[in-house]
Symmetry: C2
């Protein structure tokens, strides 16, 4: 008997976007990127000790409700179908969203000021990880078919 | 009534490490990094269409069994307690592991050759995302307290 892989929200994300249609394609598209917030449930506040020196974080969040994923689809900016795992589309077997965000400090205990989210207001937060350029940064990487559609960076 | 956030394995990871004690601190520590594999269940093979041009991927995987997480602990290389969310430790409220891996092509349909994993052999795979330097790469980022403990890159 294997254990059920069941998640629990650790908090909630606040963004300016109230409908899917309003959400940007990714968190780097809006310029300037709006200030967003991650608000942790009280029992997790102590887990932030030592986070203040980090400039960037990786957030995981729930993109549900879960739907039956299509393994291939044509993204809005593509001229042909692509495999789901070659995209960052939200309709995944496990609908977990991931954003590398800038961390601008705490607005209050357990309330993180962040930039570069792209998700709906009220999205359940699943995890906060430190962004480590020693393991997470690949400036020479090849984006494959997505290279032609990359969001320009300032 | 909110939906249960329930995950399903989409495949399995093959690594050289059979016990937690054998696992490296992160996927960049072993030099050279051993070849690992991600094997997708057959119903997900079609989701790989278009992935071949990507040099790097983000893998999410299950670090369970879930345990009651301690919000603060002293990592092996730290001289004082740190908040869980300021670490990449595995005992998280939602035990989802994340690695940025090099993608070396398919060994067979649905079998990805990868490097830079740090997890146990047999770890359940949850998601494969394209690594996009346009949104995921922060070479100027500050690792905070972890800077002194960064794994050196070749």
């Amino acid at each position: 008997m294997t254990e059920a892989m069941l998640l629990r929200p650790i908090g909630v994300l606040s963004t300016p976007w109230r409908t899917i249609k309003d959400c940007p394609r990714n968190g780097r598209q809006p310029d300037p990127a709006p200030q967003c917030r991650a608000t942790l449930l009280p029992e997790y506040h102590a887990g932030l000790l030592g986070i203040e020196g980090l400039s960037h974080l990786i957030l995981l969040y729930w993109l549900g409700p879960a739907v039956d994923p299509e393994m291939q689809f044509t993204p809005p900016f593509s001229d042909r179908p692509r495999g789901l795992f070659a995209t960052r589309g939200p309709k995944r077997p496990n609908p977990i969203g991931l954003s590398v965000v800038a961390f601008d400090g705490l607005a209050a205990p357990g309330v993180l000021k962040i930039r570069y989210l792209d998700c709906l207001d009220g999205t359940p937060l699943l995890d906060i990880k430190p962004y480590l350029k020693s393991t997470d940064c690949e400036p020479e990487s090849d984006m494959g078919w997505l290279a032609a559609h990359a969001t320009k960076r300032a």
